[in-house]
Symmetry: C2
Subunit: 186 residues, 2 copies
C-alpha cells in the first residue's frame, strides 16, 4: 500500500526502546512528538504479516478448527499462516492451504488485505480466493493440531452467531462469500 496522502498528523520518533524479540512478534515502545509538540509513547508490536485463503469446494468453505492460546478457546477459521521473512504472499497462501487442508490450488486471486489492528500492531494480512482446487494430502507442522472441514454458508453464519467463528479474516471471508453469491463475483 502506497502513501497516497500527506501524513499531516504524522508523529516524529524521538526514541525507540526495544522491549522483546520473540519467534513470532517483537515489541518496542516509541517516544514520539505529536502534531501539537507534546510527546507521547506508542506501544508497537511488529509482526511479519500473514496470509489466509478463501477456498470453496462444491459451494462449501474449507475451514480449520484449532485451539488459540491467547483466548484459551477453539475457533473455526479459514486456512492461514504467518509469512516467512521475504516470502511471497501467494506462495505462502498456497503452502498454508495445502498444509492445513490438503488442497492444492492453481490460481489465487487477491480478495483484500488489511492491517488487523492498526492501533498497536503492523500486521498486514492478505486474503486470497483459491480457484481450481484439487485434493492432495494435508501435512501439518509438527506443533500444529487442527481439524479441517468444509461448511455451507448457512453453517458459517450459524457458527458466527455461536461464536465458534469469530476472527477478522474469517468474518471478512464469510461476508465476501455472501456478496459473491448475490453478485456472482469476488
Amino acid at each position: 500500500m502506497s502513501k497516497s496522502v500527506p501524513d499531516k498528523y504524522a508523529e516524529t520518533t524521538v526514541s525507540s526502546q526495544p522491549i522483546f524479540q520473540g519467534k513470532v512478534i517483537s515489541l518496542q515502545v516509541d517516544t514520539v512528538t505529536l502534531p501539537n509538540g507534546q510527546t507521547a509513547t506508542r506501544e508497537i508490536v511488529k509482526h511479519p504479516g500473514a496470509v489466509a485463503v478463501l477456498a470453496l469446494v462444491d459451494d462449501r468453505l474449507l475451514v480449520v478448527e484449532q485451539y488459540r492460546k491467547p483466548m484459551d478457546k477453539t475457533l473455526i477459521e479459514i486456512p492461514a499462516g504467518k509469512l516467512e521473512p521475504g516470502e511471497d504472499p501467494v506462495e505462502a497462501a498456497q503452502r498454508e492451504l495445502e498444509e492445513e487442508t490438503g488442497y492444492r490450488c492453481k490460481t489465487l486471486k487477491p480478495l483484500c488485505s488489511f492491517y488487523t489492528s492498526p492501533g498497536f500492531a503492523d500486521e498486514l494480512l492478505y486474503i486470497y480466493v483459491a480457484d481450481e482446487l484439487e485434493k492432495g494430502r494435508a501435512q501439518l507442522d509438527e506443533d500444529e493440531f487442527l481439524d479441517c472441514m468444509s461448511i455451507t454458508l448457512e453453517q458459517a453464519q450459524q457458527y458466527i452467531r455461536e461464536g465458534r467463528i469469530g476472527d477478522a479474516k474469517t468474518i471478512t471471508a464469510v461476508y465476501a462469500w455472501q456478496l459473491y453469491k448475490l453478485t456472482g463475483g469476488f
Copy 2:
C-alpha cells in the same frame, strides 16, 4: 462468546512469564504442553478490547483519517476506540462516535465482533451499526489528531483499492454496507 466445543487440542499452561505491562497492551510468554506432550512457547499480547461504529448519514459512511504509528501511515477508518477496563461496549461505541465525529446516536445494533489477530493477541473488537444519528460536536482526546469526513460506497471502494482504507474493521464495515445495499438489512 461461549465455549461451544470441547477444546480437544487445548494447550496446558506450564508457566507464564510477564514481559511488559504498558498503557494499552501487555505481553507475556507462556510455556505450554501441546496435545502430543511436547512443550512450546506462545507469545501473547493482552488487549482490553475495542469498539467501532458503522454510521451512515444520508447514505454516506462516517470515517476518520488518522496517522497510525505502527505502519507510519495515515489510514481512513470507521470511528473506533479501546475499551476502558469494565466499560460496556455499547457505551464505549457511543462515546467514541461522538468524540471523533460529533454525531450522537440513540440506538446501536451489534453488527459483528471478532478477534483481530487470534494467533498472538486476545483483542476482541465489537462493531455496531448506529441509528438515528444527530449532529453534535466532536471532542477529541488531547493526544488525538484526526479528520472526520463522510464518504460514498464508491469512494470507500476506491480508497480500499488505493490502500487508504486498509484495516480489518473498516474493510468489514464496507462489505457489510455492500450487503445492506443489496439485501436491505444488516
